[in-house]
Amino acid sequence: MLTVIIIMTLGMAAGFILRKFKRLYNRLDKTVSSVIYLLLFLLGVSVGQNKTIINNFHLIGLKALIITSASVFGSLVLAALVFRFFFKQEQREDPDSGDEA
């Protein structure tokens, strides 16, 4: 896994050095998307060959939903606290913020 992080860091350095060459970035998002599609396709093939996963697919979806709901809930609670104690004051001073009524 260290290899991946090193490659990503090298990519970031290369991107920073070459950031003036806008043409390199024209199709980058599309290329990244295509590579992601390929990877997820390959992951799908491995999953399809895995009998444990195939036979328990409904349970897997339920587990995913529970983990995500809990993560979103925890994030929302902390975000509400951060807003209340660190961001709200600024809002009140802002004359444009009369949209709460």
Partner: protein
């Protein structure tokens, strides 16, 4: 949303080929190692994109320290929430549940990392869980703003708040929160490939 549907379609196509291909024996043995090399290519490209994004660098320069609280609340809120329900998740240990949660909606990357480190079962759960995070944010943003304030959907969107969920955040939280959403999404996107392996190796 469109992008995550395409991803799901590719994944599903792979699953069906995998199920059917077993009988014919026509799927090459090297598929697993091939995905490792494709992952290397992807990570290089992702890094290249982040490093070369002048807009991203500008956002980082313009912000004050307080803005760090937003991605931090996503990290600690997600991991804390996941830790609370970990006992109900059979078949995954605490580390795996936390790693799934630490994808912060960045489904493509986190699922691949978890698959590499722990196998396809937790990897698949990570894929579905993180796609769900994006879909839940897209569907429930108006409610999240009402319950948790304008930072709510930014936190819920996690890493996706810089791209796929940004338009809806801008619409319901307000344009003045776009920079915060971009910043938070960017930090989380950078954090995922470091945090997921860290949690699993700890």
């Amino acid at each position: 949303m469109k992008n995550s549907l395409i991803i799901l379609a590719f994944f599903a196509l792979g699953v069906f080929l995998g199920i059917g291909g077993d009988r014919g024996g026509w799927i090459p043995d090297g598929t697993d190692s091939m995905s490792t090399y494709v992952l290397y290519v992807l990570m290089g490209l992702v890094g290249f994109g982040i490093g070369g994004d002048t807009e991203a660098l500008k956002v980082l320069k313009e912000t004050n320290l307080k803005i760090m609280l937003v991605p931090l609340s996503v990290v600690f809120g997600s991991l804390g929430g996941a830790a609370l329900v970990a006992v109900f998740i059979q078949g995954l240990d605490l580390q795996e549940v936390l790693a799934v949660s630490a994808g912060f909606g960045y489904y493509s990357l986190s699922s691949i990392f978890i698959t590499e480190l722990r196998g396809e079962l937790p990897g698949t759960i990570a894929l579905l869980a993180n796609i769900l995070r994006e879909i839940i944010t897209l569907l429930m943003t108006p409610l999240f703003v009402r319950w948790a304030g304008p930072l709510g959907p930014i936190a819920s969107g996690g890493a996706t708040s810089m791209d796929t969920t940004l338009p809806i955040i801008s619409l319901y939280s307000g344009k003045q929160y776009v920079v915060i959403a971009l910043f938070s999404g960017m930090i989380l996107t950078i954090v995922v490939p470091f945090l997921v392996p860290f949690i699993l190796n700890y």
